[in-house]
Symmetry: C2
Subunit: 410 residues, 2 copies
């Protein structure tokens, strides 16, 4: 298995080449020409590898399958999403597909037919980069798509979702299309998209849960005044008040123990002129934790604090929570399979949570699910600068092979 | 003098009409058609009022003069600037010119020839709204203009300063042009541009000093990271660090006694995306005080604080002070003349500083100078919404008349 790392890299480059953009990054938006070429390329590749069955579902997820000999109604699934953000890298999503295809190839070569079916899926969409809708691929597998949420939605060029889908040759499920009942486990390999593994010098992350998220928009209204002629006591300064609120929120988040994270990533002030007191400030807040209770407790507390600070500074505040997603625990049994394989092979791993969203968080609502993380250099993702070392790419695929073997051949 | 307030309003409207813009505001940029029409209109008006002499200087300041009978080399000057910001109001600058013209008209009618010359000036430029240069008018009076600072400078349409000036019929001074030596006092009437008089229910402000200003750009560099996958302890969050710095600066400014003001009016962060930790934050700081020592002490202190806060948060900081203007005290003798006249007439006045810059701060470097403020409704200026009540317009002119009488007739 010595050249497996190189094999992964060759296949990642090959997939990337279907959708290289002018800056050297990868741009593969749902139902674009690049997207369709990639799915068809993967289809051909899996046929060439003589998987027992290669097929598309309604929305364009493409599956490759090794048939099981004994448990014909039980499928162990792996894979990830094929779409990228605009000007993304060659690893995000794509690594999980490559890892899956190479795992199936290797298992078939070395062990022949499994007891249970094994499938790898290249899912149509996860990022929401073209249309304002996320997790399209995995949602279709479990009949979770409501047509009404998609019909009429347009991309930045005004193209409607249903037109783009139809043009690529795909369609919505109808009531006659069955929901998959045969999937008994899902393992997704993915880059970490953070810098924890790198900083803690770990080669593999075994994901035990995916964080819940609450996202807010804070809007503060005060009064725009001349910076020279308005004494401090007569001001209603929304940026000063926001700076008190932001330093309180982030300061408290720093004192909370991991895995709580709180980020103010976007701020816009009016009129944004150096000699005018800002009369309006709008900023975002993104808070994540693996425990729903703590997430609620923390955000409730800082919302109360913020209202108090605004009142003390004679500034009006409006706090709008527009996203409230629960944390998703991974399946204990599958996590244990991954851990045992790591221990057996002396892998330098870490049990960790995922701070980013993944197809696995939808999958986990229907089937026992877990994830394998490989390190991201400098924590970078969604950028042409994404990079994972060859040896880590290889270790991730090895762990996937061993774990699929445990689940499908025993 | 009962209709003086109305007379002021009529003349303000008349001047505004030379330069009304499409929104109903006034836009009178240096050497524009509107500007030239206004100066020529004022020239005609002063000739019509039979002032003894009406004349332009080299750059286009227009003066109206009552000749003194005894002290022919001593001139008491009043007036202000005729130019406006883009989409300004009818009061800023213009009120000082109207007040001066009406004061001369009234003094001539009631008291005849003064002992000293009295002049009113409509100064060409103060705001810097067309070319990146301020105080052109007053600087020309004292031969302070360096041609090199202006030649080649362009407006937003690419028109060069010297072309615009020549087209209006004006020119730079040469070495042969004398510096004015005859001006013995200057009084400028102006709207407050703040809300202190209004909030403290005062009718008149007697300005005792103009603040010094220090302006800074703070640039903080950290690391842009994924908001979900980067634990708090591994972040270099420049917006959080900036919020600590801003709340420290403004918080301390609030605790300092008046007249210290500190304003962060502009902030820009990168990448300014809700789910990314901001890797770069740039914000401005504007600090003003009437005492140079306190201004230095405060800004030195908060710069030290800011560097310490940045270091504690593992963020790099660069602080650039790009403006350092000293405070300018008004002349005690002229301030006393204004005070005495207020007391004599039972004016409800306040001795105050100016937080904004004015022609008087240049004038005061050469001649004894003071200012009269009238209240600005809601503190608004540089906007079509500028407004000063009729009775306040009248009280300002009355005080100017009485003070000019004291200085020129005794």
């Amino acid at each position: 298995m010595g050249n497996l790392g190189q094999e992964v890299e060759i296949m990642l480059d090959w997939i990337a080449n279907f959708a290289k953009d002018s800056t050297g990054g990868v741009t593969r938006l749902l139902y674009s020409k690049e997207w369709l070429n990639t799915q068809q390329g993967l289809e051909s590749k899996m046929k060439e590898l003589e998987f027992d069955k290669v097929y598309y579902d309604e929305v364009g997820n493409v599956f490759g399958r090794l048939e099981g000999s004994s448990f014909k109604n039980e499928t162990i699934l792996t894979g990830s999403h094929v779409d990228t953000v605009k000007n993304g890298g060659i690893y995000d999503g794509q690594y999980g597909i490559v890892a899956g295809i190479l795992a199936l190839k290797y298992l078939k070569e070395k062990y022949g037919q499994p007891l249970r079916n094994i499938e790898v899926v290249s899912m149509a969409e996860e990022e929401g980069s073209r249309f304002p809708y996320v997790f399209l691929g995995v949602k279709n597998i479990f009949n979770m798509i409501e047509k009404e949420d998609l019909i009429g939605k347009t991309d930045t060029e005004g193209i409607k979702f249903e037109c783009a889908m139809r043009k690529s040759g795909f369609r919505f499920k109808t009531d006659d299309d069955p929901k998959r009942q045969d999937i008994k486990a899902f393992i997704e390999a993915h880059i970490e998209q953070g810098n924890v593994l790198e900083l803690e010098k770990k080669d593999i992350g075994v994901v035990s849960s995916i964080v819940g998220q609450r996202r807010f928009i804070f809007e503060l209204s005060g009064q725009s005044n001349h910076a020279g002629t308005t004494p401090m006591k007569y001001r209603k300064d929304t940026l000063y008040t926001s700076s008190l609120i932001i330093s309180n929120i982030v300061g408290k988040a720093r004192k909370y123990s991991d895995p709580l994270v709180a980020t103010v990533g976007k701020i816009d002030i009016t009129p944004n002129t150096s000699n005018v007191v800002p009369g309006k400030t709008i900023f975002t807040l993104d808070v994540r934790h693996t425990n729903k209770g703590i997430l609620k407790e923390f955000t409730d507390m800082i919302c109360e604090d913020s209202k108090k600070i605004a009142k003390e500074n004679d500034v009006e505040i409006d706090i709008n929570m527009w996203m409230d997603e629960d944390p998703v625990p991974m399946d204990e049994k599958i996590v244990n399979v991954l851990k045992e394989q790591c221990n057996k092979e002396n892998v330098n791993y870490k049990i960790m949570h995922s701070g980013a969203g993944h197809d696995s968080q939808i999958m986990a609502q229907f089937v026992p699910t877990a994830m394998i993380f490989v390190p991201s250099k400098d924590g970078i993702s969604h950028s042409p600068l994404e990079y994972t070392e060859t040896k880590h790419l290889e270790e991730g695929v090895n762990l996937l092979i061993n774990s699929l073997y445990e689940l499908a051949y025993k």
